[in-house]
């Protein structure tokens, strides 16, 4: 009996949590955008750990990979996967520097519009500054724990690969805590950040590969 009451309690709580996601009103949207712009402007560096979950509907469990991320304003980014394999990518100016477990290669982003866009999106997702991007229809939500922004791709080429971007922001400091990229098939990639440190000294050497 006790178990039933406990399950019932859990159900009520979880329904309650879901019901508490509401759309922001106009003034809330304005205030939120100001917060993110301020955060983005004052952020010179970010380092964070991340866990990436790749969800495919036919798999038994999500594919989990993890590592570290570093950002230095205005546009240097390093993604470094450390588990279960070593793989890192540096987005630096017009170059993509790849180190695939010791196999190194470079790609000029200038040669690919898609890479340029990808780089922009990564920086904007990390800093939260995606709102001025023309290629999306944007809507704003709040929950008791975080703010949530949904970006629906309006660019046809992008929409074929990623239909929707979903970003979760920490309510207090405006930091991006989660990025979800949903494909047209509804399969998705979810990246969850932790141990985020802002504006620490980062040596430029980190952005080599």
């Amino acid at each position: 009996m006790r178990n039933y009451i406990f399950i019932l309690f859990l159900l009520i709580v979880s329904i309650g949590v879901q019901a508490q996601e509401t759309e922001m009103n106009t003034s809330e949207i304005t205030a939120f955008k100001v917060q993110i712009k301020e955060v983005s402007k004052s952020t010179t560096t970010i380092i964070a750990e991340f866990v990436q979950y790749k969800h495919l509907d036919f798999l038994t469990s999500d594919i989990e990979t993890s590592g570290n991320m570093a950002f230095k304003a205005p546009n240097w980014v390093k993604w470094e996967y450390t588990s279960p394999y070593e793989y890192s990518v540096v987005f630096k100016d017009d170059l993509l520097l790849i180190n695939d477990g010791g196999t190194k290669s470079n790609i000029k982003m200038g040669s690919s519009k898609l890479f340029k866009k990808l780089n922009e999106l990564i920086i904007n997702s990390v800093t939260g500054n995606m709102f001025d991007d023309g290629g999306f229809e944007v809507s704003y939500f709040k929950t008791p724990d975080f703010n949530k922004v949904i970006f629906i791709s309006t660019d046809k080429k992008m929409a074929k690969m990623i239909a929707v971007f979903e970003l979760h922001f920490n309510k207090n400091d405006g930091a991006v805590i989660e990025v979800k990229m949903i494909e047209p098939s509804q399969d998705y990639t979810r990246i969850v950040f932790s141990n985020r440190v802002v504006n620490s000294e980062i040596n430029d050497e980190i952005f080599t590969n």
């Binding site: 990436q52 594919i63 993604w79 196999t103």
Partner: protein, 187 residues
Amino acid sequence: MTKDWVASETKKDIVENKYFSDSNKDYIYKAKINIYNHKFGGILIIKKINDQNHRVVFTTEFGNKLFDFLYEGENFRKNFIIDNLDKKLIVNTLQRDFKLLISEKATVLEQYHVEDYKVYKTSGDKRSNFYFINKKSHTLDKIVNTSKTKEKVVVLFTEIEGDVANKIQISHNTINLQIELEKFAKY
């Protein structure tokens, strides 16, 4: 390719490849591809969905899908492929390579003894496959796909544990394409 081999009477009807045959398993591999010295990596995901069907999906390290194939028995469907890869030659090559990898059973036509291996010849359409079974370990170590005159594709299975090959190497001899696969440790 068989001219120096010792033929033996065929005793086996069917040769099996069990490396992707467990529908309870998610087969996840880190992939490194080298095509005409252009190198790129990604994640190869193979899942046996039911008795006859396999899904084969390739994504970048960031999770973006590059292609998504469905094999339904002898039928093949492209669920998704990025525009840059959607060329007939590329799709046909990938389709054939992965078909070779996931095919579980093939009818044996001829049988040979070659050094440490029992070799079973099976037929494709215009091509033949040769399955190399290690005489000591009884593991499938190699599949060679040939045309009438040439070795076309060689698949090597190494670091084998039970029905799992932790490393797989697919090499093409007629085009400059190599695919290296290494299984994720925790899957």
